[in-house]
C-alpha cells in the first residue's frame, strides 16, 4: 500500500536538474546563478536518496548526499564571498559584466 515507485523520484530528479540547467543558462544575476547550481545539486541528492532506497542495504547513498550538502555549503560560502567582491569591484551583479579574468 505504502509504495511509491522509485522511478517517480528519479523522473522528478531529472526534471529538477533540467530546470537547474535552464536557470543556470538564463539567469544573469550572479547570485541566482549560484542558486541554480544549488538546485542542480539538490536534484542530484534526490536521485542519490532514491537509488539508496531502491538498493536497501547500507546507506552509502546517504553518505554521498551528506558530502554533497557539505560541499554545497562550502561552495555557497566561497561563491557568495566572490559575489560580494565582484559587486564591490564592478558595482554590478550581472554575470555578463564579469567577463574579465583580471580586474
Amino acid at each position: 500500500m505504502n509504495e511509491i515507485p522509485i522511478s517517480y523520484f528519479l523522473v522528478l530528479s531529472a526534471i529538477l536538474f533540467g530546470l537547474g540547467v535552464l536557470a543556470f543558462v538564463f539567469k544573469r544575476n550572479i547570485i541566482t546563478v549560484f542558486m541554480a547550481i544549488e538546485l542542480m545539486l539538490n536534484a542530484v541528492n534526490l536521485a542519490f536518496v532514491a537509488f539508496d532506497r531502491a538498493r536497501g542495504g547500507p546507506h552509502d547513498g546517504w553518505v554521498f548526499v551528506f558530502f554533497v550538502i557539505v560541499v554545497a555549503a562550502a561552495e555557497a560560502a566561497v561563491g557568495l564571498a566572490i559575489a560580494i567582491t565582484v559587486v564591490h569591484n564592478r558595482q554590478s551583479l550581472n554575470i555578463e559584466r564579469v567577463n574579465l579574468l583580471k580586474f
Binding site: 505504502n2 509504495e3 511509491i4 515507485p5 522509485i6 522511478s7 517517480y8 523520484f9 528519479l10 523522473v11 522528478l12 530528479s13 531529472a14 526534471i15 529538477l16 536538474f17 533540467g18 530546470l19 537547474g20 536557470a23 538564463f26 544573469r28 547570485i31 549560484f34 542558486m35 541554480a36 544549488e38 538546485l39 539538490n42 541528492n45 536521485a47 536518496v49 532514491a50 539508496d52 532506497r53 531502491a54 538498493r55 536497501g56 542495504g57 547500507p58 546507506h59 552509502d60 546517504w62 553518505v63 548526499v65 551528506f66 558530502f67 550538502i69 560541499v71 562550502a74 555557497a76 566561497v78 557568495l80 564571498a81 559575489a83 560580494i84 567582491t85 551583479l93 550581472n94 555578463e96
Partner: protein
C-alpha cells in the same frame, strides 16, 4: 491512490513549480524564496523515502544555513531586479529547446536505470537507518569525512579573505 502517492505528487508539484518560479522571478530575493520552497518540498520527499536524517539535514543546512546566507547576501548587496542584457544568441535561441531536450533525455535514462525501474519504496532496509548512516560515516567513510571538515575550514578562511575589504 494511496496517501504516500498523493503526498508525493503534491510535493513533487511544489518542487517543480518552485523551480520554475525560481527561473521566472526577476527579484533575486523572490528566486531565493522559491528555491527554499523547493528545498523544503525535497525534504518532505526524503521523508517519504525514509531518509529522516537526510531530510533534517537538508532543512538545517540547506534551508536554514545556506539559503540564509544567500538571503543575507542579497539583503546586504541590496540586489534589485535583474537587468535585461543581451544574453548570447546561442542561449537565446537554442537554450530552451536544448534544456528541454536534456531534461527529456535525463528522464529517459532515469527510467531505464536498471535499479530504478522495478524498485518501490516498499524495499525496507534492515536496522536503524540513522545508526547505519553514522556507522558508515565514521567507519568506512571516516577519511572523506575528515577531508570535508578540512574543506569546510578552507572555505571558511577563503570566504573570510575574499569578503574582507582591503584596508
Amino acid at each position: 491512490m494511496t496517501l504516500p502517492i498523493i503526498l508525493f505528487f503534491v510535493f513533487a508539484a511544489i518542487a517543480v513549480i518552485g523551480a520554475l518560479m525560481m527561473i521566472f522571478f526577476r527579484e533575486p530575493i523572490h528566486s531565493a524564496l522559491a528555491l527554499i520552497l523547493v528545498m523544503v518540498a525535497l525534504a518532505v520527499l526524503y521523508l517519504l523515502l525514509g531518509a529522516e536524517f537526510i531530510a533534517a539535514v537538508q532543512i538545517i543546512v540547506y534551508a536554514g544555513a545556506v539559503m540564509v546566507l544567500f538571503v543575507f547576501v542579497i539583503m546586504l548587496l541590496n540586489a534589485g531586479e535583474e537587468e535585461r542584457t543581451n544574453i548570447s544568441k546561442l542561449a537565446h535561441y537554442v537554450g530552451w529547446p536544448l534544456g528541454i531536450f536534456l531534461t527529456v533525455e535525463l528522464v529517459y535514462w532515469m527510467l531505464r536505470a536498471p535499479i530504478g525501474a522495478r524498485a518501490t519504496t516498499a524495499t525496507i532496509a534492515p536496522g536503524d537507518p540513522t545508526r547505519d548512516l553514522s556507522m558508515l560515516l565514521f567507519r568506512s567513510y571516516l577519511f572523506p569525512f575528515e577531508i570535508t571538515s578540512i574543506l569546510i575550514l578552507i572555505a571558511l578562511i577563503g570566504a573570510l579573505v575574499l569578503a574582507k575589504r582591503d584596508s
